[in-house]
């Protein structure tokens, strides 16, 4: 069953065509990875899905409802959660308050503390609950972002390059976390790290120069000559 789909989604910035006629679908319960070389338009595409960027043309359909004209905060309330590519937390507030801000939109006042504790435990940040978020290490700030997404109990969790800048050990932990999440939610994962994509994703869409280049299982994508060409720059594709 399809949870999210886009139809002919396009975006041009002052004549520069960033995303062209993208139609793709994310099935409920899947871990769907969106990959592509730098500048392929991944973040623009995701921006249009969650309402940060207004599309030039096309539609976004979430759970059967056309949400193209909804402002971002309304989409979030429909059950999307978005974590930023560049860490975007509240550095001056403590870790618990960061997650509580995300939780208050979803949970009745009495359940917020419990939901916050659960999300922080899930990502392994429970020992840092009272720490000021800005004092956390970079890796922990990324995990805090994910906790802020999780606590909303989203139907679709969009993670924009969650492993960027993480150490090998942290990436291994992240893979485990993502696999655990599969039972709870649908994930749209924008990711550069191929080992993360290949080991966690159910389906992969490849974006190149603003267009969908290929789509399939990780194994199919790995074997796809056009994808190899886009990544490696060979001309005989």
């Amino acid at each position: 069953m399809t949870l999210l789909s886009t139809r002919g989604l396009s975006k041009s910035f002052d004549g520069l065509q960033a995303v062209t006629d993208v139609s793709f679908e994310v099935a409920k319960g899947d871990i769907h990875a969106l990959i592509g070389p730098n500048g392929a338009g991944k973040t623009t595409l995701v921006g249009m899905i969650c309402g940060r960027v207004a599309p030039s043309a096309g539609q976004v359909i979430f759970d059967g409802q056309d949400i193209t004209d909804l402002p971002a905060h309304r989409r979030i309330m429909l059950g999307m959660a978005y974590t930023f590519q560049i860490t975007s937390i509240f550095p001056g507030l403590d870790v618990a308050e960061n997650v509580a801000l995300a939780a208050r939109r979803r949970h009745p006042a009495g359940d917020v503390a419990k939901a916050v504790a659960k999300a922080l435990t899930q990502v392994g940040l429970a020992p840092y609950t009272e720490e000021t978020a800005g004092n956390l290490s970079y890796g922990h700030q990324r995990l805090l972002e994910i906790a802020m997404g999780l606590v909303q109990q989203p139907r679709l969790l969009i993670l924009d390059e969650p492993t960027q800048g993480l150490s090998e050990g942290e990436i291994a932990g992240f893979k485990t976390l993502v696999r655990d999440l599969k039972s709870e939610t649908t994930l749209l994962l924008i990711e550069h790290n191929m080992s993360v994509v290949m080991e966690t994703a159910d389906r992969v869409s490849v974006l190149n120069a603003g267009e969908i280049l290929a789509e399939g299982t990780p194994a199919e994508i790995r074997a796809n000559a056009a994808v190899q060409a886009a990544y490696l720059g060979t001309s005989d594709a």
């Binding site: 905060h73 979030i76 930023f84 509240f90 208050r104 909303q152």
Partner: protein, 313 residues
């Protein structure tokens, strides 16, 4: 800092201010009444600037809306003080709501300019309708018109008590508000608005709410000021009265509940004391302000919070 200690500290200030009226000499007694009303204005300003992170240069518009809303009702409407005060507060709510709808389409420097320009327009409007407002000169509200529920507000004791009651009310509203989810969302907007939006909050509605609360409190202070001190004049709508609350809040500590009062008290007595020493008192005041900005950039209460009372609201 635990919730009960926070409450003790803040209620302690109110209790202390209440007790002071019995020991202060007449001169300082009068000063403190004035400071408390002005501090109420600063508390209103702090909601928007200190907690929401929106720097307005036009709050004199709200202060004056309250003052003239009240004073014109008495002068030309023949109203008694209670409905006149209410009219002042309502005028502030309406004016701040309308300005918010326009100004909140901008951010940063543009927001400062838009609020400044509308406040100037308000100032000029008061001058333009001189038949009603008596322009620059303003008008006096007679003693007989300042009797609220049988209490003569021109008497020092009643005036002090009224100022204390007003300050206590807005101070407690401020303390309550910033610990509620709504207030915490305002703080989060100050820290990172885009993130708040992407957590599913309507940030425009929150900022609108903050501006109306801020403007309404400022108007309440303006209305009370006119009533307690018996005068309404266009100078209270001038740009100077937009800058004052900014200075008070900055000095006392933006984004702290205690800061507005501490800043207003400090600035008032800084000018009062230095003008007793030299006629170039603004020079002394200026140097002290520069030193404070250098060594306590978060304001007096802001520094206290950083060094001693972590978690002070």
């Amino acid at each position: 800092m635990s919730a009960s200690r926070v409450l003790v500290l803040h209620l302690g200030l109110l209790a202390g201010l209440f007790a002071l009226q019995f020991v202060l000499p007449a001169y300082h007694h009068g000063n403190l009444a004035r400071i408390m009303v002005l501090a109420a204005y600063a508390v209103g300003y702090n909601i928007l600037f200190g907690y929401t992170g929106l720097l307005s240069l036009g709050h004199a518009l709200f202060f004056a809306a309250g003052m003239y809303g009240m004073a014109l009702m008495i002068q030309h409407g023949g109203a008694s003080p209670a409905p006149a005060l209410l009219a002042g507060v309502l005028a502030g709510a309406v004016v701040s709501g309308l300005l918010a709808l326009l100004a909140l389409r901008t951010t940063g420097v543009a927001f400062m300019i838009v609020t400044l320009m509308f406040a100037q327009a308000g100032y000029l409007t008061i001058l333009y309708f001189a038949d009603w407002t008596r322009g620059d000169e303003g008008f006096v509200i007679q003693q007989a018109q300042r009797v609220l529920w049988g209490i003569d507000l021109s008497q020092p004791t009643a005036r002090y008590f009224a100022a204390w009651a007003l300050f206590s009310l807005v101070f407690l509203i401020s303390l309550w508000l910033v610990r509620r989810p709504f207030g915490r969302t305002l703080i989060a907007i100050r820290e990172n608005e885009e993130r708040v939006r992407m957590l599913g909050y309507d940030t425009f509605a929150h900022k609108l709410g903050a501006m109306v609360i801020s403007g309404t409190i400022s108007a309440g202070a303006g209305a009370a000021y006119g009533l307690l001190f018996g005068y309404a004049g266009a100078s209270f709508a001038s740009v100077q009265y937009s800058i004052f609350p900014l200075l008070w809040v900055l000095l006392g500590g933006a984004g702290t509940v205690l800061g507005p009062f501490v800043g207003t008290l400090f600035m008032f007595y800084l000018i009062d004391l230095s003008s007793g020493i030299t006629s170039a008192y603004m020079l002394i005041a200026g140097v002290v302000l520069v030193l404070l900005t250098l060594f306590a950039p978060q304001g007096l209460v802001g520094e206290l919070r950083k060094r001693i009372f972590r978690g002070l609201p």
